[in-house]
């Protein structure tokens, strides 16, 4: 394993974070698959392809955090909109707190490392 290629580590880390980010994207407004996917397109550590985002959306729905409703689209077939359920909102609050604690904890280790 090359030390300069974080690949596997990053993708493990990203899976959990992506879940938090999808809930964050849907916090204010419902959105449909294509729009959500393009949010995570492009470059950067959180870039994720359709074959990651769509299955994740589906799992969040089966877990009851998201619900869907159909709406007509000028592009053709009806859009499936995803929105947070009340369980999803509670889940988002928990994940936000966990994330903040995790970042703070990692920061403390980084400070310790710098001090020694």
């Amino acid at each position: 394993v090359s030390p300069s290629a974080p690949g596997e580590w990053t993708s493990q880390l990203r899976r959990g974070i992506l879940e938090l980010c999808i809930l964050l994207v849907l916090r204010r407004n419902a959105s449909y698959g294509y729009e959500i996917v393009t949010t995570f397109g492009g470059q950067g550590p959180l870039a994720a392809g359709e074959n990651t985002v769509y299955p994740l959306l589906r799992r969040l729905k089966t877990e009851g955090f998201l619900e869907t409703f159909a709406k007509d689209s000028p592009a053709g077939p009806p859009r499936q909109y995803y929105r947070l359920t009340s369980v999803g909102r509670r889940r988002l609050a928990v994940l936000e707190r966990e994330w903040a604690e995790m970042v703070a904890a990692v920061d403390r280790y980084m400070d310790k490392g710098d001090a020694s």
Partner: protein, 195 residues
């Protein structure tokens, strides 16, 4: 791109074949999501080829779904919880049908018979009363009461018959509603975009 585009349909068919571990409803929703994604991509200016390439091969996309939906332990727990609930929903419907079927048969037959016979005979008694009051009754009708009695009794019988028919209508509506309340509902409801 319309739903009938052969390349899109071939891709979605392959996807569906490889999603055999999912429930039929899940499979349908996944296919809808991807169909809509392709249409939106093309509407946004991408070529269909580029959109399909970005999705990756259908079997790999199906595997990504399978990993996310089946290997996730929470999903397994959910499935274990959901299966008996589907069985219990069936038992509920079957139980309700059994409890309602015999009383329903009796009530429907009684109300219908009473309704029709009272309405018709009320009309006949009223008509006979009128004929007796204004002229000669035909020889095959025997009437031992004064005509005015028949004229008054006829509408009362008719009213009782019509009431029974109205009651029958209410009862059928009640049973239909009770059955519908137990049966599964569609889950995709039209709603507002903002939450």
């Amino acid at each position: 791109v319309t739903e009938q585009h052969p390349v899109v349909e071939r891709y979605l068919n392959r996807l569906q074949e490889h999603l055999d571990k999912l429930t039929p409803e899940e499979r349908k929703e996944v296919v809808n999501d991807i169909r809509s994604h392709l249409a939106e991509s093309v509407a946004a200016g991408r070529t269909l080829d580029a959109a399909l390439e970005s999705l990756g091969p259908a079997d790999e996309l199906a595997r990504a779904y399978a990993v996310e939906l089946l290997i996730n332990p929470r999903q397994v727990a959910d499935a274990a919880v959901r299966r008996p609930s589907r069985v219990s929903r069936f038992l509920k419907v079957a139980g309700l049908a059994a409890i309602l079927s015999i009383p329903t048969l009796v009530i429907v037959v009684t109300l219908f018979a009473v309704g029709v016979s009272f309405t018709v005979s009320g009309l006949a008694v009223f008509a006979a009363g009128l004929i007796a009051a204004t002229g000669e009754l035909p020889y095959w009708i025997q009437m031992d009461v004064p005509p005015i009695f028949a004229i008054l009794l006829g509408p009362v019988l008719m009213a009782a018959g019509i009431l029974a028919l109205i009651g029958l209508g209410f009862y059928i509506r009640f049973v239909t509603r009770a059955m519908r309340a137990v049966l599964p509902k569609g889950e995709i409801l039209p709603g507002r975009i903002t939450t």
